[in-house]
Symmetry: none
Subunit: 436 residues, 2 copies
């Protein structure tokens, strides 16, 4: 059984809103073990909705539409489905009565156009509305089916869970299908996507060679996703008969992948699933009872602003100094006058942050965002410095590529990663893995 | 000319990430007057990418793919396009050399798999990479064309603007498509979307009543788009025979809209098109030869990090203090011990920023991001303070709604807007329009 999602609405094509309904439905289908190979978005145009539906029905077993069920003239999903089914729309008296009641219960006069929502393609079943006025539809077409849901996210989600998913499961059971798909994401920082892939190639080949690989149950796949400041993600996806079996496959595979990555690159996995780099740093600081102060030059407050997004940041984050102008580095952070793009300057910024902000740990970031060189250094040259309460310091030089914004973002995650690695070493400080 | 967008990546189907590339491209195509009737998303599966491409080419004139150009085994957009073109992939020696250089310039060993990125379908032209390693492709198929772009958003956007859009425009001109669609965006801050729409309703009705409204040439439409920290956008879109005619329609309409907004709300238009709030502030600071220092509490560096993104910020931005912990407000910024979420505290933070950072103008932001109240104040209560070189100060209390992140973002743009409005008044300072 494979299901295509067709999102209806000109505003999607114009980029005025993101297709969050398609994203949510994709997630739900995957979690339920239902395959979905294609998504489409189409505007409020009957001929083109018919094209999209016909395309989807030709390459799949079922289609879920969202949007275009409202009361206005540009809501024409009902008409398009009737055309694909080659039937007429008939007004459902019971539905019409309920829509009228919806308005009268709220003391409002119903605009006549709302009765369009009581029009149903002949042969379709109605999914009751519990939140608004647009009913959903289950429209059989031969052995296939089109489910029509409203575009309002919470109405769509409620109807999907109550009516569409059970109907899909019944159809899958009739077809003799079962199973779930679950994913787990290992977030990494420090090596390129191709290096990760190369290190894990043996693992991927081993998975491909297992009996049943590519089949339905008991298989795992590995994929990679570069995600900027969120790190480079390694995604493990398991198919199994039920969720416990999927979880156990993922546990086993995660152990293997971690073993390979650890042997090849050391400590590059900073988080699992939703755990961001800043969350990982926060957890370590809280465990060790340490406070943090940040001194930023080229990142201009980006590191601090990501740290404050971590819930509970007020218990360990003292604050930051954005020393964009060199004079601020001298007067506020106490750097000696001289070059400010060096590893010594980064460490001095970190020490200044500790002192000025009265923090146990200081993080300093200085470098060249570009487009012009500075102090004879090319854009992308960045120094990160660390100062720890015990007087220990660490520094690292980075060579980043890209435009100003990318250099800033990679500087921010790299700086936090240096802090994370250092805090993870038993005698955090001078023996850390990343001394400059 | 109509263009279909095909986003490639299993993670899109699984709902693990939103298709922000498709959304961005949709927006760009609309702004350029290029029709786009369908979007598709498809997983990392060659047979299905071929199906998606064939479907798109059958119903459109051009296709833009994003994703699947990376170095790993699941990056197979190149192979799928070659199959649709019925040609082979050939390794481009020059490209291979550049990819090797990309790694050696960074002192890294290139994994062999990276050379897959130098494989090009016969007959395709290469779009150089300027940020990463995956080149883009322009692949003619009869009179139609497939543009292949990487999935990394900033690489995709840069290539679209530099290579795809100009090529599309050239094809449209060759096809004799006259008629352009041009848009102009007035960015506003300070009133709600519904208030804007209500104020401009008369203007919208007048446009609808004009001869030719809804037709192709000589018409203008108005739309609204809430864009978070980018402000609330009023988009004017003109259809005309050529760009001079479109521009003149937009000029006339902009004058009318500004007149209405000015009469209803005062100075709420802070920028046109790409001019962000921070750019507007920067322009005023440069005009007046002033330097700026920022003191941030709940925004945690967000204001400073946006300011450093303005080209040339180093001439007017001294830096910032992120006083997340109250003690930093006392010890670094010199606030008297006591409540720190008041208008006096915001002004004192601004004065502290001037003194500590040796800046002519100081901006202070304090407030409650939530979820819990603080000092008896509800989440969303925010104070912005200003200190000007002549001793004048200003403050404003905001009541914002939403989650922590939204409250922070709205605080940041509101703070910059207070600074902008104050700098725009002739005797900037105590006679400003926004004194608390």
């Amino acid at each position: 059984m494979n299901v295509e999602i067709v999102a209806v609405g000109t505003e999607l094509l114009l980029g005025q809103i993101a297709d969050t309904n398609g994203q949510w439905l994709g997630e739900q289908l995957a979690a339920a073990g239902v395959d979905s190979y294609f998504h489409q978005a189409v505007g409020d145009n009957q001929r083109r909705i018919v094209t999209a539906l016909s395309t989807a029905l030709a390459r799949g077993d079922a289609v879920i539409t969202c949007g275009g069920l409202g009361p206005t003239q540009d809501d024409i999903t009902r008409e398009a489905i009737a055309e694909v089914m080659r039937v007429s729309l008939v007004r459902d008296g019971e539905l019409a009565r309920r829509i009228e009641q919806f308005f009268s219960a709220r003391g409002r006069t119903m605009p006549e156009s709302n009765l369009r929502q009581a029009d149903v393609p002949e042969g379709a079943a109605v999914i009751d509305q519990r939140r608004g006025t647009a009913p959903g539809l289950i429209c059989p077409i031969g052995r296939k089916v089109v489910y029509a849901l409203p575009g309002v996210p919470d109405e769509m989600a409620e109807m999907f869970e109550r009516a569409v998913l059970p109907d899909l499961k019944r159809r899958m059971a009739e077809a003799g299908e079962r199973g779930v798909i679950q994913s787990r994401v290992l977030r990494t920082w420090g090596v390129s996507e191709s290096a990760l892939a190369e290190a894990l190639q043996g693992q991927i080949d081993a998975l491909d060679a297992r009996p049943g690989a590519g089949g339905r149950a008991g298989t795992v796949t590995i994929a990679f996703l570069a995600s900027g400041i969120e790190g480079l993600k390694v995604r493990l996806t398991a198919r199994a008969d039920d969720s416990a079996a999927a979880r156990s496959l993922l546990d086993a595979e995660e152990r293997e992948v971690r073993k390979v990555l650890d042997a090849a690159f050391g400590d590059i996995v900073f988080g699992v699933d939703d755990v961001s780099m800043e969350q990982a740093v926060a957890t370590l600081l809280v465990e060790r009872g340490l406070t943090l102060g940040v001194a930023e030059s080229l990142t201009g407050g980006l590191v601090a602003s990501r740290l404050v997004d971590v819930p509970g940041a007020s218990t360990w984050l003292r604050g930051g100094v954005v020393a964009y102008d060199s004079n601020v580095k001298f007067s506020v952070l106490g750097l000696r006058e001289g070059p400010v793009v060096t590893d010594e300057a980064a460490v001095a910024m970190a020490q200044g942050a500790c002192r000025v902000l009265r923090a146990a740990v200081g993080l300093g970031i200085t470098g060249v965002a570009g487009p012009d060189p500075r102090e004879g250094l090319a854009p992308g040259t960045v120094f990160v410095g660390l100062a720890l309460g015990d007087g220990a310091t660490a520094a690292r030089r980075l060579r980043l590529s890209g435009d100003r914004q990318r250099i800033r973002q990679f500087s921010a995650i790299s700086a936090l990663d240096l802090l994370r690695r250092t805090l993870r070493t038993p005698a955090h400080g001078s023996e850390g893995p990343t001394l400059g």
